[in-house]
Amino acid sequence: MKGLRVLKPGPLSLLQDGGRRGWQHLGVSPSGPLDMHAAAWANRLLHNPWGTPLLEVALGDVELQAELDTWVAVCGAAMPLTVDDEPQPPWSRLPLRAGQRLKLGFARSGQRAYLAVAGGFLVAPVLGSISTQQREGLGGLRGEGAPLQAGDLLPCGSGSFVFKASVPWPYLPDYGCKPLLRVITGGDAAHFEEDQLQGFFAQHWRLSPQSDRMGARLLGEALQAPARQWSLGVGRGAIQVPPDGQPIILQADHQTMGGYPLLGWLHPLDQSRLAQCPAYHELRFTPVSVSDTQAELREFYQFFGR
């Protein structure tokens, strides 16, 4: 089978799809793209259905060579994009002919870019998904959770479009701004002292460099959390407060169960924004209701045909 040959894999490039659903009761993390907004646009530009396998490129420095004529789209972090050294527009679909080299430079703004290909990468799923889960050794090109390596061949089909196309500019996020992220309070929030909850929303937090695909860790004035509880199922966006008082926001590779007190959940669309923040970026939080979140999220899913 033909596809895209990896000349330079970059520091952490992972194949992802809509995530590994239906196995959390056995301890299997759902995984999936950290920024579902940029991933959804990359697939949409190519008329791929929601969750079509694509490549999540962290920080950049990736070089691929096409072995067939196809179309690709790159959305997300601003990484200088060239095809045979010719600069290309971001958040766009473009043709890639056999023999041509696509390069993604280091990210200038944002952390993760999504490279989709017409029809998606053709990789065998593990437990229903090709999403790469490094910690659990699941998914990816060979099914054992490894990130991209030099020499890998990412199998894909050929595609053809008449026109190039770009995401309309009003939809493009500004990854440079200091985000105000929305939080549905809940879980053990009622057991926090009132001033601790206020402190969470009043503070300017910073994103810890210890953050990874499992969790985004916050740095700030420690919160006092209530006592631990019996471990229960946890989902993406859950905000845990461990004994050191520095909150952890669970991301795509989250564990399935946790026992730390929960303060609430990050709005799913703001998880995408968080995924693009570099270490030490300033973060603030504001409350949002469940129903407002659901209405906005439903509209987002409908737009992208989930």
């Binding site: 659903r21 009761h25 471990s231 199922g233 966006g237 709005h267 799913p268």
Partner: protein, 225 residues
Amino acid sequence: MIRLEPAGAEALLLVLAEQPDALLPQRIALLTERIRGELGPFLTDLVPGWTSLLLHYDLCRTDHLQLAERLKPLLERWIDEPSSKLAGRLHEIPICYSGEDLPEVARLCRLSVTQVIELHAAGDYQVGAIGFAPGFAYLGELHPRLALPRRATPRLAVPAGSLAIAERQTAIYPHSSPGGWHLLGRCPWPLFDVARVPPCPLALGDRVRFRVIDERSFVAEGGQL
């Protein structure tokens, strides 16, 4: 009293009890299967906890209010259900008790190594939860004479198949991973294999007994020294 609480915009938490008890894992397993059977198409994941069940739902098909309404009759039936007829499947798992921490566990518990092995192998355990890693089953309850806090410094890599203890629980690490529990032995069988259906032989509420084997049988049963 069962509590239903939204857990973010796409999940509903059922708090089923305030404290875990011996019958609860099987009862939660029963409820999980029933909900999966009746409401499966609306749900993406059902995650049992020690005293709870988290339902991840498909927001394009339902929401927490609609789900709560549909769950009502199911939960009412479940509360009144007698629990005596429930019994999880029994698994007999071979263990070669040759773990690195056996001498230290014996010293800390003021027992001989033989007594530690006998006490551990005599237990009749139950799967109380599955989490932490794929196929990692928390088994309870460990004999009180063997209860120890976790190691002060977790190991960076615990070999796959390691049988370990901490507090009043015991478990087998299905894959090599970091771990803070005390290692007592090794199981030769794979406990999480994506090529099998289901990938994990243990299910919530199942019962587990350990069979003592020597190194030769460990290798014969597929274990790697």
